[in-house]
Amino acid sequence: MADARVEKLAKVLVHYSLHIKKGDWVRIEGSAVAQDLIRAAFIEVLKAGGNPMTRLGLPRLGHDFYTLASPAQLKFIAPTASLETDQLDASLSIWAGWNSKEFSGIDPKKMAVSQAANKELFDRYLKRIASGSLKWCGTLFPNYSSAQDAEMSLSEYEDFVYRAGNLDKRDPVAEWQKVSRAQAKLVRFLGILKTIRIVGPDTDLAFNVAGRKWINCDGHENFPDGEVFTGPVENSAEGRIRYSFPAVHGGREVENVRLTFKNGKVVEAKADKGQDYLNAMLDSDAGARFVGELAFGTNYSIKRFTKNTLFDEKIGGTMHIAVGASLPESGGRNKSSLHWDMVCDTRKGFTVYGDGKPIMKDGKHSRF
């Protein structure tokens, strides 16, 4: 029996997030786990007059690829992938898998070879998204693997996911438009600030954000959404921070991360678990020790940490600070192959200051 919320989600994704128009060439990618949402989106794109195409993942093929591929095979780029990158009008990525640890035994070097080979293509993809010529949205279809990571049953997890996307409301699109207007106000308020300082347990970290742009994330590129972010001035981070949530990246969890910044750069990094991985990531290139993103999570329907960045970084009242690449639309200029969002639970014992005045206390904004 179909869950009516799946159809509702497909409608929001196709009409609100991606705003599909007649004649749009639309790629829908996801694994077979997500087949219900893939089909619902396919139908919605057809109804909107678009031309849907699916790219389906099957269980264990990714693992087989990294296990068996030679360097030449790792570097292979299908001509079709290049064509799609240049010519698609819209692309919907649906995240859902069988096992969040499927790649844990794969040599990170092999994955890096493939990533490096795909970099040029990926840059072209990002450039088209930034310029508005390609519409992109990433979303998640509730599945057993993600539910287990979140320590929930599948039906509890479905409720969690759909509530975070306002799909429990009568008119989700109207809700997201409301979110967008409220966040626009916050963006205007933050836009006049020169400095942001985060103070809390084992934390006192200051940034210069003067001249940078705050971006309103209102359900277009991520769904669900709910954050505002900017790229702080690259050499400005000064002080230290401790993350009480595990930092999740590449199927790994790094626990109790403590970072110290001088002139924008991470000069000391400690973790209780996953120290080697943290070091390796921070040493991946010259930009990996600098902050690319500073953001407020504004989705107050998301309260629980579920080991999935799509949701965790949006928890209402939290902040996240990404080391590595900045997103050019914010005015950030940091370049790196890394972009690791680390979420700081600022909802308890934290005060955030803007130009010296408190703007958020225990997760509650003064202007939001």
Partner: protein, 358 residues
Amino acid sequence: MAETIAGYSLSLKSGEQVLVLASVPALPLVREFYAAALGAGALPFLRTFNPELDEVLYRHGNDEQLRFVPASDRLDIETCAARLAIRGDENLATLAGADPARLAIGRKARKPLMDIFMERKGRGELKSCLTQYPTNASAQEAGMSLAAYADFVFAACFVDQPDPIAAWKRLSAEQQRYVDFLNKVKTLRVEGPGTDLTLSVEGRRWVNSDGKANFPSGEVFTGPVEDSAEGRITFDVPTLFTGHPVEGIELEFRGGRAVKASAARGNDMLQSALDTDERSRYLGEFAFGLNYGITRPTRNILFDEKIGGSIHTAIGAGYPETGSTNRSGIHWDMIKDMKQGRVLADGMSVYENGRFIV
């Protein structure tokens, strides 16, 4: 794997009724086992575990519905000669959000069935075996790909060897040697980093767990004398207690009782478990893990407690067959890697750096 379980663990005979309890993802193993059981002339029949339905029941059911046990379930357990339970979940957290009080109602309603099962097992009328089918959910919990996890399970079950049954018989014979030796020992002293614990095992029986009731197995265990534990011990293998991770446990014993306890992670869970009842601060089990096909923890007690080169102790209930008299509502196995430790038996070193030297 199916042939080893049918031929060795359950040693099925012609005409025996075999109850197979399995979850849906484990059906490929059920099919293989079905063929092996039929081949032995036995009478296999399948009942399924349905965690997703249990979740619906515990969410929506009234007390009467929670207490309902089909009469056929009782008949199954009263009449079968063998019972194979195959775990293999799609989501290990399916019941994580269920109300513990409501879960307890369901457990209580099924207790008479559990009692029949234990009694028939005790009288030797019923052979039982618990095993694990490798699924993505368990692989994910172990932090492994499904391919790597399946290899792990097969190595732990010795089914990657040319003759698995011969390998289990070898393990059984070797463990029996340790059991015969340990049955004559009065005191054990465990030494290692952060650890110096003395126990009396005088008059207690050691049990050779050799791949029959658990598959895989590979441990020898007893119930230590209840008031004998003295000293302290640290456990470095992460454990789960009622699904919650607890790590870095340190216990200090006086007169058999854990008087001091701390955990680096999940300390609240540890403290509340220790305060469950009168006897939950006393040891119910002491064991050596001897399956050297298991080389790493996977957050699954079926495998973790048998890691070759580890020991484990359980706080709470002891197994009556060992002579243990400790009764408690909990039984929590805590595991210690012994690659840097030793065990003295009546003052003589008998186990060093993860291996018996007797």
